[in-house]
Symmetry: C2
Subunit: 350 residues, 2 copies
Amino acid sequence: MNLDDLLVRLGEWLKGEGPNSEIVMSSRIRLARNLDRIPFTHWADKKEKENVLEALKNALKENEFLQGGIFLLMKEIDELDRVFLLERHLVSHEFIQKPDSKAVVISTNEVVSGMINEEDHLRLQVMQSGFNLRGALDISQRIDQFLSERLNFAFSSEWGYLTACPTNVGTGLRASVMLHLPVLVFTKQINKVIQAITRLGLTARGFYGEGTEATGNFFQISNQVTLGQREEDIVDNLERIIRQVVEYEQNARQMVMSQERERITDRIRRAYGILKNAYIISSNETIELLSQVRLGVDLGIIKDIDRRQLNELFIFIQPAHLQKLEGKKLTAQQRDVKRAQLIRSKLGVV
Amino acid sequence: MNLDDLLVRLGEWLKGEGPNSEIVMSSRIRLARNLDRIPFTHWADKKEKENVLEALKNALKENEFLQGGIFLLMKEIDELDRVFLLERHLVSHEFIQKPDSKAVVISTNEVVSGMINEEDHLRLQVMQSGFNLRGALDISQRIDQFLSERLNFAFSSEWGYLTACPTNVGTGLRASVMLHLPVLVFTKQINKVIQAITRLGLTARGFYGEGTEATGNFFQISNQVTLGQREEDIVDNLERIIRQVVEYEQNARQMVMSQERERITDRIRRAYGILKNAYIISSNETIELLSQVRLGVDLGIIKDIDRRQLNELFIFIQPAHLQKLEGKKLTAQQRDVKRAQLIRSKLGVV
């Protein structure tokens, strides 16, 4: 399997199914781990980083979840492919800046992936479709166990797992869910909800992670605290709060459908009409419109497409995806035309 | 035939055919006539106006063009019906203000209509589809001839036909065409064109006549001067200038199709997509979008509807039309919903 195989299909966590998938797009567990007696990435020299890379590669490739997957040295792929991985939610912004001594591993279904020599030696990510943090936690724990039997991780009996940034010390675990909250935004309740979430020790980010805006009414909610709690407790806590947010959005949707059905239908259908007809369209406009259409599917207003197809569009309309599909570099203007073309074709417009 | 018959069909001048009908929506001749020895409407007393009404009614109903048509006393219809006639371009804003002693005659195909006791005793209107001022002039002259054999019109050998407002003295003739100039607007050449037209002694108005804006890129162009020229010369002059404006718009369309095809296609298709999908829509937005779609039909970008269907929408989405179709009064909000419904159904969206 190689990188271009990702062009013809979609990660399993984007299938649009699973618990509460009308609101929870995906669940994610991320573990930060470092090898014992080797400096964290930013302090390690080239030789040390190469050793980390080698050790982790050898251990990871034996793991059942990564059989047949992709192992890529970042310096061996070009910038377009690096951005492609970023758009795919497989690597971080920081990770693609300096490719030296960095590698990524990706399981065939994109459920498991790992960045080697990001700020920690290993950042392991497990994704699941819908509201399924338990499923993701279970897989991450099994891989963690597997690796622990083969490698010595930096661990303090007092602090737990040691990490480059103090905010990750302890479990090294970050649990997060990607929520689609269009009606809390529409009814202007979203700020109150985000404030409450923050007071409860969680963080809300945009669609593309840290530092990005909540384009398309997507909010990534994750735990802040990694220290002094068991992994299960972190996940329990996040789950409990998310369950409430999901309920708020559900109630808001019911309210809107009974009291403002025409106004919300108008918004949704117009968005769908524009997507099916545009000949020039930016990523941002696309994401905003897809968000409305996704809500339309959830509310039963739009029946001729499903969430899986929409998720595919969310991913494939991004610049690097478009350019890889075209097989060449495109200017921003050319991309806006190709994007519109792709959307029309995926939405069945001839 | 009665007023409600107009609800199930469209005036023949809106069939969207005829010379240059891709740019010239319709051609119109209007004659102003007053009966001799009776004061103009604003100075006449009730008895005199009733006499005018009776005399004109008796003469008009015998005319071949008005056989089987409608004769309506304005005071006998309610306000909704009066606005309905206005939306239909059969009466003027001024005419529907005070209904006393006023009447309207309408031919079955809506080609010929007359207002009795507007500011002149008779305002006769002849409409034709496309660029066909000659056709309209011919009919108006035949009716004028017919009436002259039965009635004495106020006429001075020095001035010609006498009218209430000096701007109509002479021929009493106003010739006008309704032009659709979306690409001259799109390419920002329209102001120069309007300025040139004005310098040549013509007047440009909006879609709904005097004092209205050029909604939907429609411009009604007519002659200013009625005095000192033969009817044929007035029409010749207007025709010559309009032919040039039509050519400008044609050239601009060619230019845009070769140099900005994607941008114009995007605008047109989006407009069509919104019209087919909206659930709430105002008249103004509808007219702007229909204008884009009309251009799309003209440029061959939209193939599944024709100009006749679009003309029908331009007329039927207006407030009084919507309310008569519904058979009851509707608030502005209710109209916006009904309008969207009507558009979807006329555009074949189930």
